[in-house]
């Protein structure tokens, strides 16, 4: 009891102190950013429309723009005249390690905030909420997960979808053959070449893959969402001040309406590389998240 009381008092004291600008560099990450006047941003290569390369190999996307908002906030808080942003591509498999070992300071892409990952890293306020669904060829007769029994199904290695579909296969004895591709691009290639009948993934990413497809009208996104997931920006654990600063910058963007403008740009307007419109209206969950920014995980 005493220890808890002490910890609580300490935390309160700490947060009180941190509002004073003179003490704002207690955080190791902020100190590093201030000392080197640079920050390393983790981004994805093919998570359309969150974080990906356009046809000029520039990193663009919804999450990327929000990450730049956070960088602006950091720059203002540290009173830096100039901040050098270094971009570092990460994959599903190495992103956690790269955050932990200090290579990357913040990663905003399509990373789900869940309790298992919270043991290793911290997450900012949620920037997106998705449901896991299926993509299939139009007319292939795939409407929901039940249609997949006995078929080859592809998903991306290291994602929540992979976990869910393997579990579903085991629990319901569906005799599916699950293929784990190394990234979303390769998973879609597996679907496109007919190796798999359906591709299970976060709905927004599926729409993103359709945007890249040779013929977008060939593909549909279907099925009952198997889970809801909150994407957050990944940060180093045990650096509450850095998190607080990132959270505050994101919350400001969300409550001021900036985030909704960024959303409209990426989800309701034509986007690179093919100028396709994803036409994903702002969901109720997203509206709530914008209204009351929070870092709650769904699982």
């Amino acid at each position: 009891m005493n220890r808890f009381a002490f910890a609580a008092a300490f935390a309160t004291a700490l947060s009180a102190v941190s509002t004073l600008p003179a003490h704002a560099q207690e955080s190791a990450t902020l100190k590093k950013i201030k000392d080197t006047a640079s920050i390393t941003l983790g981004h994805r290569e093919s998570s359309i429309p969150f974080s990906y390369y356009d046809d000029k190999q520039q990193v663009i996307g919804y999450s990327h723009e929000l990450m730049l908002k956070a960088v602006e906030g950091i720059k203002a808080e540290l009173k830096l005249a100039k901040i050098d942003t270094k971009l570092m591509p990460v994959t599903s498999a190495n992103r956690i390690t790269l955050i932990q070992n200090g290579t990357v300071d913040i990663e905003c892409g399509s990373t789900t905030n869940n309790t298992e990952r919270q043991k290793q890293v911290a997450f900012s306020n949620s920037i997106f909420i998705i449901g896991t669904k299926l993509m299939a060829k139009k007319g292939a007769g795939i409407n929901d997960f039940a249609d997949l029994a006995g078929k080859n199904v592809v998903t991306t290695a290291g994602t929540t979808s992979e976990r869910l579909i393997r579990k579903m296969n085991e629990d319901k004895q569906m005799k599916m053959n699950v293929i784990s591709a190394k990234d979303h691009g390769e998973a879609f290639l597996t679907l496109e070449t007919g190796r798999a009948i359906a591709f299970m993934m976060d709905d927004a990413l599926l729409y993103g893959e359709i945007a890249k497809a040779k013929k977008a009208s060939d593909w549909i996104v279907t099925g009952t969402a198997q889970s809801k997931e909150a994407y957050g920006c990944m940060l180093r654990k045990d650096d509450p001040e850095f998190k607080k600063l990132v959270d505050a910058s994101l919350a400001k963007a969300m409550t001021s309406g900036d985030a909704e403008k960024i959303y409209a740009k990426w989800f309701m307007n034509p986007i690179p590389p093919k100028g396709l419109n994803l036409n994903m209206a702002l969901s109720d969950e997203m509206k709530t998240a914008y209204k009351a920014p929070n870092d709650k995980a769904f699982e």
């Binding site: 932990q100 290793q120 080859n152 053959n177 070449t193």
Partner: protein, 245 residues
Amino acid sequence: MGYQWNWGVFLSPSASGDDTYLGWMFAGFKMTIALSLTAWVLALMLGALVGVLRTVPNKTLAGLATAYVEMFRNVPLLVQLFIWYFVLPELLPTSIGDAYKQSHPVMQQFLASMICLGLFTSARVAEQVRAGINSLPKGQKNAGLALGFTLPQTYRHVMLPMAFRLVVPPLTSEFLNIFKNSAVCSTIGLLELAAQGRQLVDYTAQPYESFIAVTLSYVLINVTVMTLMHKFERRIAVPGYIGGK
């Protein structure tokens, strides 16, 4: 840097609920062994054949063998794997290609991996075999022919028994390489040792335990192979030559 070590992770039930994570690692271990051994058998057979052909007097055969070696030796393993797995089925007639692609994915991945690793390594084995044959004194071949052996008989009874014994030490390192190169096959989704290690990272967020276990498994495989091959080398060594007493 705030890492939470947890070695108990291997004994916890896996995400699909039917096994422990240790079971996953073991499944990957078995896959790596099965893939490497079958690919090695393929590499030895093809490599021996191509290596011999590179040394025969017939210019056409020697030329074809050289082309084979240069092709498989000079294209990166990863590129070859993608060609076998992604490109080749598209070149088959549509009906056969589609039927193949709808078959069990692990079978497809294993087949592409085995052929790819086997052919890639066979080019390297061929070079060792050729070097072994060329290292023999010219007099051996001439003596065989002078005794009335045909060229194939000279190879069969005089040159190859010597050449194969001479190249066992360099072949050992190719044998070790095939186990290490098999990790490349995780890129097409084959769940071998490296892929299971990566899965463990994805599912448990315990990268260090997982990578350490994978590293130790590869070391274990290769130390075992090395020990066995050393014993084998000693048994078949030719007195007076490298490795012989």
